[in-house]
Symmetry: C2
Subunit: 124 residues, 2 copies
Amino acid sequence: MSKQGGLPVLGQDEAACCAPMVREPLGEADAAELAKMFKALADPVRLRLLSLIASHEGGEACVCDLIGPFDVSQPTISHHLKVLREAGLVGSERRGTWVYYWVLPPALERLSALLQTPAATVSA
Amino acid sequence: MSKQGGLPVLGQDEAACCAPMVREPLGEADAAELAKMFKALADPVRLRLLSLIASHEGGEACVCDLIGPFDVSQPTISHHLKVLREAGLVGSERRGTWVYYWVLPPALERLSALLQTPAATVSA
């Protein structure tokens, strides 16, 4: 399935990738990489786009589904989708007329695990 | 305990606050609020500061513990700590000469839950 080709190779073992920051301080290289991913999330339109893609039926959304809900131009939406893709948060593929987007779970999972607190771990 | 006074009132019920984005798309108001928190995380020095505070023995760190590891000036560190505090990610209190910082678990938990994927839920 072509989607798999879009998954990034994270380049570190899972323990290092997903340790909660309450357990150990971040190194410089990890912090630089993670800050880029958080920067992609630091915009309300991008956050809503990502949530529309993530919650879309079948786990992927056509760009044609993503323009309607926003009061901004199609080029602006395309720019935001590019930022999400370059941050490694979504994958994309052109099929015929439209480009389709899906979230990359390992990337979201890495950020989610980083922010986990002991309280959350206990209540999960 | 004076720490409790520093906890923000989140102003929404827990279900709404912590729904993963794979389950439902974000509304405009939530996206705007969450984007501000992610913006505070979108800087390598702030991420490392937050991780130093979060992982510090006893769950809190004196500003005097936070200056040494960085190759930036004390005013720059103070500015980054202010950004983290204003985003609701850390609390702080002056005790004698030094200001002490601790993470606010509900804020981290909210971001962590937002980014959770079904894969992460299964493996947790």
